[in-house]
Symmetry: C2
Subunit: 451 residues, 2 copies
């Protein structure tokens, strides 16, 4: 029996997980990766976020691929946000119910687990293959190799899991009637770090995602297994007093941190070195369509790169893989065009929704979370969820702790938002919030949305 | 005195006119063009629209460049739309006042006039230079030449007038924090032709733009100096009974034309040949920002490619050139970054507006123009314009017969639309339209928009 060969571009998180799925379906898999094999080197994330936050959708996809148990030991549970105010005081906002958490994991460690598994399952990985050109009609990819030579391959089936700057997508853009939108937001980010305390312990609460929300900018920190934290500073590139354009030297760095993040500053002995050494990275949102042409497919960030403010980029990409696997199970491999067409048609509304939610969530993370009225709003929603666990699930929970379609979560979230806006318009809400007619609030959503 | 050299990419209509402007400011100008010198060859438009419709903004820009008089003899005035219904009956809709017209001109003839003039003014034109790569930071462009050799140039100032698929814009996309959106519409087009009658005369009214509006598709025809018409068929690519996907052979072509465009069909002896030989072309809208970086600039379609349904693509590009020339006159050439920054800031809202209007106008051209209520609406608007020539100018006229900023025309158009929707909601409007309180209608716009 002739086995079909699938060629993947990109051995990142999505490409590696997809390779595992495809191998388990008995397909031949080759992955072509630009980088050299980095697994035994001590490298950082090439300017990309070093920590990922794994949540329900991601776990389900790992479980389906049979790799969940290997990943668990590398994760650190975060049960909520710990908000740091300007005075160094902190308070805790649970993400969901008591046992619901998102899980911090190092990108590199995670990628290594998945890629090792893909290889163990029989995928062949070709490192140092930089895509120079893709001819979509011929399904020909030409690569330049590290030694300066060139190489071309023909694929029966070609999948671009090659990220936000996908080479396959670039080829789609110039070779197809292809709708494409790329948008950079006004903010950039820089990775920083908080090492373990002198006693070798976590310097802060290790079971939370820490946020220093400052309105137009913010700092966040995620725990690592080695008891350090990886921090990410989000600032406008320019146009504001506190912006990357206004940080010229070490004095400016210290000034910003002492003024706005003083408690974090005291935990960051490497601040100046980190700040100077690490690149200032941009944040892009891309949406495009179609995702498939002539037995080729875009998947993960290549199809829909989102900003990181909902922590769903990787989880969404993993869910892509799981959905695609389900379609292969259902329709077989005799018509890849059919499988890929079903995939894009079914999935596109959901990735549009999560891209939009991620964009909107910057305001929630950097501003709302510090607003007392927002906290009351969250409490009311939590109470609703407690009273009506099936009927009222907060948007964050639908996205983060369920497998509900993103587009459905988005639509329900909009209905809830309208109702909650009305509830919050009561001038006495601060006093009355725990004496509300909760059944009536629920009813308003049910009526207006016919949920 | 050291003369500054400006390098332009693309010797199309916009690049050629811009070269004339820049030469008149005493700047050295080199144009690099992908094609061979086509001026003495008998070529068609490479799948691009063969006829252009020159209107007020275009004429003003030509006048400012001192080239208007050379263009006039090559144009054919069109004073309105001549609508062809399914029975072959036609009626005429004037575009504006009696003497207001748009002017049909052949793209090739026009490009030749402008490029000849640019050369006469001292611009040097380098044909057969295909851009392979642009390094924006270094302002380096590498070209491949016809003989297979490569060549690199460095520019002090580099302007991309290289159209909807601009190479400079592609470089921006991968090298800058660049917002970019490309959208293909569901329709494509094909150029066809109506030759002169056997007597050597125009086969139809030569002073109109002919439209066969059929809802989801349409045919249009523009007159040429040789008494032929160039026709353009706009059809959905797929998803409808009448679509390019459903036209498989000559029988299908004849079937569509006999059924829907029978009067045109009788004038098209070359239909089958034209249809088979000419490519089916796609229609793209692109919007992007920024337009400038490091003394480089995008202009014309490279900065804002629009669909052709408002007939403004070229006119807008010419206006770009004229506005840029005004800024050079005002700010001089000691800081190109300043000039280019002023240009993009001032111009972007206007090109966004005309891109949107062009997109919306497909419905007007292909559907509304055949609707009796639409005709009454147009009559009411014409009456308002007659009564209040300054206060009520129809949107089409603001766009086509004035130099008002596109964004302002757009905003006023939206106000007028609201008022007219209300006027047209009168169930007896068909009987009453010429007995309306016109002063009150005008007043509604003035009040709601504080015009």
């Amino acid at each position: 029996m002739k086995k079909e060969r699938i060629n993947l571009l990109g051995a990142g998180l999505i490409g590696s997980l997809l390779a595992i799925y495809l191998r388990k379906r008995g397909l031949e898999v080759s992955i072509f990766e630009k980088r050299q094999d980095w697994r035994h080197l001590n490298v950082s994330g090439e300017g990309r976020s070093i920590n990922m936050a794994l949540s329900y959708r991601g776990w389900k996809a790992l479980e389906r691929a049979g790799i969940k148990d290997k990943v668990i030991p590398y994760t650190q549970a975060m049960y909520g946000r710990r908000i740091h105010d300007e005075h160094g005081d902190t308070f805790f906002q649970p993400y969901g119910k008591e046992d619901q958490a998102i899980y911090s994991i190092s990108r590199n460690a995670f990628n290594k687990i998945l890629l090792d598994e893909a290889e163990a399952q029989g995928a062949s990985v070709h490192f140092g293959h930089k895509v120079e050109h893709v001819n979509v009609a011929a399904r020909e990819v030409s690569f330049s190799l590290e030694d300066g030579s060139e190489k071309s391959i023909h694929s029966e089936v070609l999948i671009g899991s090659d990220g936000a700057y996908s080479a396959l997508r670039n080829a789609f853009q110039s070779q197809l009637r292809f709708n494409f939108n790329q948008q950079y937001i006004s903010h950039g980010y820089k990775e920083l770090s908080i090492p373990p305390s002198p006693e070798g312990e976590f310097a802060m609460d290790p079971n939370a995602l820490h946020i220093w929300p400052r309105g137009k900018f913010m700092l966040i920190a995620l725990p690592n297994l080695d008891k350090s934290f990886t921090c990410t500073l989000f600032l406008p590139f320019e146009g504001y007093k506190v912006s990357f354009a206004n940080i010229h030297d070490e004095r400016d760095i210290e000034q910003v941190f002492k003024t706005h993040f003083n408690d974090a500053y005291n935990l960051m002995p490497n601040l100046l070195e980190d700040f100077t050494r690490n690149p200032t990275a941009a944040l892009i949102n891309t949406e495009c369509y179609p995702w498939t042409e002539n037995n080729t497919l875009l998947i993960g960030d290549a199809a829909h790169a989102m900003v990181p403010f909902y922590g769903q980029g990787m989880n969404c990409g993993f869910e892509d893989c799981s959905i695609l696997d389900g379609l292969i199970a259902k329709y077989g491999t005799s018509s890849w065009d059919l499988v890929f067409e079903k995939f894009q048609k079914g999935r596109k509304p959901d990735t549009d929704a999560i891209c939009q939610l991620a964009m909107d969530n910057f305001v929630e993370m950097s501003d709302n979370v510090a607003d007392p009225k927002f906290l009351i709003r969250k409490k009311i929603e939590a109470r609703l969820h407690e009273l009506y666990p099936q009927e009222w699930v907060p948007l964050y929970s639908m996205v983060t702790f369920s497998e509900m379609k993103y587009s459905e979560a988005y639509a329900i979230g909009k209905l809830q938002e309208k109702v909650m806006d009305r509830v919050m318009s009561d001038p006495l809400i601060t006093q009355n919030w725990d004496r509300l007619d909760y059944e009536d609030i629920l009813h308003q959503v049910v009526v207006s949305g016919a949920v």
